[in-house]
Symmetry: C2
Subunit: 204 residues, 2 copies
DNA sequence: TGTACATCAGTGAACGCGCGTTCACTGATGTAC
DNA sequence: TGTACATCAGTGAACGCGCGTTCACTGATGTAC
């Protein structure tokens, strides 16, 4: 049985996406080429065009999966306690862990040049869902500590920016004195954010 | 007088950098090519190699200038009061303003793929200086409100991440419900960060 | 159960493009005498 | 002041590369009769 000799691949679409994911982590978002993907999957250069209209569609498909995985990673709470505080900490840490473990994918997802959300409905929707997960866990935490429940747009932006910024800086190695255990820093930073919110809530 | 016909350009190095800056904001970091720069400056394709060893050196030179400008922008404090709190707010807002006004340059400066800091001594040094400006204004602010003066690595990372993350999300248009006046959000977010620190300081 | 046929995933060659970089060269400049 | 010459910024052609995409095609598949 030589599956690589078959005329019809079987599930080329899935194979291309799988290969694209691998290339993404190997060479980064810029390193992906349809020709390269086709070669990896042992298929002619034009074969991918039976499943995708163009390169942008492939990139969008990958980014879509990326947002699903990001959601999974955020919801994989560390502890098991249904404590809103721990839950929010888990979401924040999950966000950063996802970025560190899938740097290429993360960069792709958050690069306007590479994937323009607005043009692809499904992608836009999934990115919104990822954001909703983050926002809801923030709101639940606020509620738990007795503070004005739906976070203001400003607080939302501050919380999201903190996690996203730290992920970005760690990824691009732009943090002065880069930590040898990045996730330790991630936990420390999210922990400090939570403490700041808590102490400010006690005043209100 | 036809300066474009001269055999020797005069100051090709500066002209290339200037042209690169323009291309950066027009097409983004990926859109820059040495050939394109040469063409813009009306010079042969190989001419740039009299001033730069390769493309990486051009990118590094631009990024270097970028960090200098970032420092200027951070130090262009809004008010005139030598108030450490206002100063820190100005630094944070300056950081985000710089990113919004020079998106291509900002992305280049913080992209590990495009410019590897570690390999270029001068660049590394200037990026460190930019970070120092930020850290010092944070420390001054902490001092002013009577809190443990040199910020812990965790607090440094949180502060830097907040500003950087917000800049990045605004730049890549990844903030849900993108604000029509981004700098208003920038001021609100930095303002909230400062308030959180102040209220937590009152407890200690 | 057997055969004609429509479908469409995959082929292979080609189009046209832009890129970084090298190399032998040329011509302007300014310095030493 | 005038001239020989070293220097080196800039030329132009070429090398070799990888890319996205198109197009007429072929061969496997499965359905209708």
């Amino acid at each position: 049985m030589k599956p690589s000799t078959r005329y019809h691949h079987g599930d080329l679409r899935a194979a291309i996406i799988r290969s694209a994911m691998a290339a993404l982590e190997r060479d980064g978002p810029e390193g992906i080429s349809l020709r390269g993907l086709a070669e990896t999957v042992n298929v002619s250069r034009s074969a991918p065009y039976s499943h995708f209209r163009n390169k942008r569609e492939v990139m969008a498909a990958i980014a879509e999966i990326g947002f699903d995985r990001l959601i999974d990673e955020m919801q994989r709470v560390d502890g098991d306690a249904p404590d809103a505080r721990l839950c929010f900490l888990g979401v924040g840490a999950g966000y950063i862990r996802f970025a560190l473990e899938n740097p290429g994918l993360f960069k792709l997802m958050f690069s306007a040049d590479l994937v323009s959300l607005r043009s692809v409905g499904d992608l836009d929707q999934r990115s919104a869902r990822a954001y909703a997960v983050f926002r809801q866990s923030l709101d639940a935490f606020l509620l738990e500590i007795g503070r004005a429940a739906p976070a203001s747009p400003t607080l939302q932006a501050l919380a999201w920016s903190s996690v996203h910024g730290l992920a970005m800086l760690l990824l691009e190695d732009r943090l002065p004195g880069p930590p040898e255990r990045p996730m330790d820093l991630a936990h420390a930073v999210t922990g400090m954010f939570v403490e700041l919110i808590e102490s400010s809530a006690q005043r209100a």
